[in-house]
Amino acid sequence: MTDAIPVDPGFTPLAGAWWIVLLWLVLAFAGLIFQRRPHLITHLIIPLGALGALGMALIGAAGLVEPVSRFVLPIGLPDLPFHLRLDALSAFFLILLGGAAFGVTLYASGYLRHMERGALALLSLWYHLFLAGMVMVMLADDAYAFMVAWELMALSSYFLVTTDHDIPDIRRAGFLYLLIAHVGAVSLLLCFGVLQGGGQIESYSFDAIRAAEPAPFWSSVAFLLALFGFGAKAGLVPLHVWLPEAHPAAPSPVSALMSGVMLKTAIYGLLRVSFDLLGTQASWWGILVLGLGLITAVYGVIFAAVQSDMKRLLAWSSIENIGVILVGIGLAMIFHTDGKGGLAALALTATLYHAINHAFFKGLLFIGTGAVLHATGTRLMGELGGVMRFMPWTAWLTLIGALAIAGLPPLNGFVSEWLLLQAFLLSPGLSQPYLNMVIPVAAASIALAAALAAYVMVKFFGVVFLGQPRDPNLKNAHEVCWPQRLGMIWLALGCILLGLMPAQVIGWIAPVVQQLIGQTLHNDGGWLMLAPVDANRASYAPLIFFLVVLAVLLLTFLAVRKLYHGRIRRSDPWDCGYPEQDARMQDSAEGFGQPIRQIFESFMRVERETPDPFDRHPKYRGDSRDNIWLLCYAPIARLAAWLSDQTGRLQHGRIQWYLVYSFATLIFLLVFTR
């Protein structure tokens, strides 16, 4: 396949990206070849993959400034070879992918050292295919290439999810995941079927699709199909059911990639289809996306608050973040169709910003939990606690991620949230008055979601890393090795820098926004300050902010030390003088989530097992499932079963009846055709 590189003058970023994809493919199979030598895989192959990811990020950066480059691979369908294209949008998402994947893969090279050989080889195979698939999704410039890459991504991630396939739950999770992914993919097929211009095979290239002008009705159909298809991948409520199952099931680096990057490919696809391929948008699309996004965000965060499995909690929080991103897209669409280009640019900027933020902090949190999981062997928060004492690196780095995702200044989560709220605040420009009514409510629920996210993160970090160890043998949990630390440090740095340098990040995002909306966000604040539209309207300068906090902090500290003293006496915790303390007296995860469960009980189905008062070793189990499963999926399953029973009836083994069928068919056709 190497002859696929066209001999074109100059080394376009696209060609570079393609070389890296090839590198990953080679690495994938190299892992298979050297499966007898795991050391080689963990110490050479996977780090090389990480370097590839880093290169991909750089190429993305180059692609933002370079002109659109494209070339055609000699593979694919006849007359429909794979078209590749690198424009600002794909470049931005390449940065996202490369940046997050570099840290995660670096981490993986340490994390996977304990795996047994065969599994390791397979994992490295699928892992690199997964990376390649995601990149190809972002580069593809025709429907076929896109779908192939899309499904390659789904398939490889399925095999990654089912790495420990001995556990029935994991098998079930993987099955559910692949099923929903496949249904989504079919709906994407239909979407492209609508979009493709003429009947010829050439009309599947995105250029042809852009050229084609579908009727309003059909473009709406295409949009809905796309929303369904991409929503299924992104975990849009009610298509999210696979997500809290699949993400925890996968090995931690994979969960990090799936949550941090793979969900973004769905966002990428949605943007690509609705802004790029479909030229014109109907006014109600944006409102629909906005509404769905709000539901997803609130629903996701509520369920995140009541989880007691840390990876599951993070998975739900991913759903929340996807919801926030969709809200941004919805706003952008509303402004766009309303002709408010600048505001659309603001909303879209906020969206993309949040996408890349989420890639970083969610990746960080997932690999952090991975470290804990590997050191302690459990995912249940009820058996953890006090891990900070044994794994300080992991703890502090994870804390950065947690604060970032909780949307606290001056970290990156706050910036995108701030931009989004600004977009809401600017909504009075809209021409439809009823929207002006709706939007404050939407903003309110976004604020609610953000505040709840803080709750969730306090719960997550507090229960896992702080307090007393709930299990005595947590004592011998050990800190992770250096590659893992480096991976986490990279992502944490990402969170901090993205938080402190918003003006620059917006500079990167600008070309994307320019491409999609034809207008960029004008930053009034210079390099230091973030001031969309107008410095008098709103501004935020995280760097100053940060320095001031730092300064005050140091001043206070020094003042206290100077004026008074730094004497410390250690003793047992006081706790209002209660005599015996033990770890069981702290809040369990269920306990911490209990108020939320109490308030939002109507959303969920709560299953409790309360111990009797005389139990010497009382065990409490509270589990909150979402009702969507019962409301949407169970009926479908029942209907399918019923239908298959009915069809089964037709076939009851009696040959005379079979003869009757063909006889009836014959007669029917004879009557029918004359």
Binding site: L155, D166, Q200, L659, T673
Partner: protein, 483 residues
């Protein structure tokens, strides 16, 4: 010339194995003859690809891109199946399910079956086409009942009666065709020669052809396994020996569909309407949906994949029904992909059932532990047949579905439902067979998995890259089908 080799070799093989098929080396001989057949097919293919359609033996045989690609496919799959059946049948013999006499029957009728199918593909005479289809049926009836279990006998009986009746309808259709043709071409030999019919198809009497097509569709459609005429198919596939299941669903169905298409071309010419196309779309859609819902309730692995064959033939029929260059192209591609993939799956399933000692899926667990190659073969094959890229089945499904959405949007909800249900059912059943814990035993003989991976490799390649000459060849075929 090479056409005689093509037909002669398997026939001779049939005779030879009928005489000495009980010897120990019979499986190798079987494979050898299949190999020779395949070589002859390649030779013929090269001739046609280079020199265009051949019309030889005073117009008895006519080979154009459409059937030569089926010829090549048939010969190839027949060869790989023979390779697979070598160890498979030995293991069966060791398990004591077969004795040498039956092996002789098996080998010779296998060859006869192949030659009958090749004849059906290459002949230019609609009557001979019918004759050889019937011959192919007869050759396989005794193979289906090879194990002599009650179930096998029942399956064979149904196979025989239903297909016999069906094919009788096809004969009536042929007669009607002749009846219409002789007025134009005069009575006697030429009136059934497809080439001649094709030239004068617009002069043929529409009403008669309409009637003829109905009979032929019902007749050959029974062998294609179109719902609701499909009832013989799952039984025959499930109860016969696995190599036979492979060739039945990999090849026989194609050949039957080939017959339908030959007559469709004539009917379209005569009617000028797309009545035939609509009928085929209807049948195809019905088959896809019914099969999908029946798959959901299967417990026997071979039976399940038999239903999946019905589903895919339905899809192909639907594609051909839509007509047009793209759809026909997609249909042909899907035919190829389905044959390769499905036979590969049956190979893997065959060994899986042998090592588990049962065809019940509940009895097959964790293949990946005991015999990883079989496990991965089954897993990848399943993934491929479910239309997941980068495997070739996806390429054709992509074209079919998008075209359907573009041309006949009303059909897509059915397709969507069916594909979803089929995916859920098949994958949900296969996953635990491949993954998870296990207590299966290893096989006495080294399983023959080269065929499996050769097929899958081809399917994978065709999903990513269709060689230009192959593509050109498909396009010509699509043209012939009135694209």
């Amino acid at each position: 010339m090479e056409i005689y080799w093509l037909l002669g070799i398997p026939f001779a093989g049939g005779i030879f194995l009928a005489l000495w098929g009980s010897r120990g080396f019979a499986p190798e001989i079987n494979a050898l003859f299949s190999l020779l057949t395949f070589l002859a097919a390649v030779w013929l293919t090269v001739r046609v690809v280079s020199g265009g359609p051949i019309l030889t033996a005073n117009e008895w045989f006519f080979i154009d891109p459409f059937n030569v690609f089926l010829v090549a496919l048939t010969a190839f799959v027949a060869f790989t199946t023979a390779l697979f059946s070598r160890p498979y049948m030995r293991i069966e013999q060791e398990h004591g399910r077969l004795n040498t006499a039956r092996l002789r029957l098996y080998h010779s009728s296998y060859q006869i079956f192949i030659s009958a199918m090749l004849l059906a593909l290459t002949t230019n005479n609609m009557g001979i086409l019918w004759v050889s289809m019937e011959a192919a049926t007869l050759a396989t009836v005794l193979l289906v009942s090879l194990y002599r279990t009650p179930a096998a006998l029942e399956a064979a009986w149904k196979y025989f009666i239903l297909c016999g009746v069906g094919i009788a309808q096809a004969l009536f259709g042929t007669i009607l065709l002749y009846f219409a043709a002789e007025k134009v071409l005069g009575s006697g030999g030429v009136a059934l020669l497809w080439t001649h019919l094709n030239e004068v198809k617009d002069q043929l009497e529409p009403r008669v052809l309409q009637l003829a097509f109905v009979f032929m569709l019902v007749g050959y459609g029974t062998k294609v396994g179109l719902a609701p005429l499909h009832n013989w198919l799952p039984d025959a596939h499930a109860e016969g020996p696995t190599p036979i299941s492979a060739v039945l669903s990999g090849l026989l169905l194609n050949v039957a569909l080939y017959a339908v298409m030959r007559s469709k071309v004539l009917v379209d010419g005569a009617l000028g309407t797309d009545m035939a196309g609509n009928l085929m779309m209807g049948f195809g859609l019905l088959s896809v949906v019914m099969a999908a819902f029946l798959i959901k309730r299967q417990t026997d692995v071979k039976r399940m994949f038999a239903y999946s064959s019905i589903e895919h033939m339905g899809l192909v029929t639907f594609a051909f029904g839509m007509g047009g260059a793209l759809a026909n192209f997609a249909g042909l591609l899907h035919m190829t992909m389905h044959s390769l993939t499905k036979s590969a799956i049956f190979f893997a399933v065959g060994h899986a059932t042998q090592s588990a000692g049962t065809q019940l899926m509940s009895g097959i667990r964790g293949l990946i532990k005991t015999c990883p190659t079989i496990g991965w073969g089954l897993m990848l094959g399943t993934v491929a047949i479910l239309g997941v890229p980068p495997f070739g089945v996806f390429a054709s499904e992509f074209l079919i579905i998008t075209t359907a959405m573009h041309e006949h949007p009303w059909a897509t909800p059915f397709l969507l439902t069916a594909l979803g249900v089929a995916f859920a059912s098949i994958f949900g059943k296969v996953q635990p067979m491949v993954f998870g814990e296990t207590e299966l035993a290893r096989l006495p003989h080294q399983p023959a998995l080269t065929p499996v991976f050769v097929h899958l490799g081809l399917v994978l390649m065709l999903g990513l890259f269709i060689p230009p000459y192959l593509a050109a060849w498909y396009r010509q075929a699509a043209q012939l089908l009135g694209g």
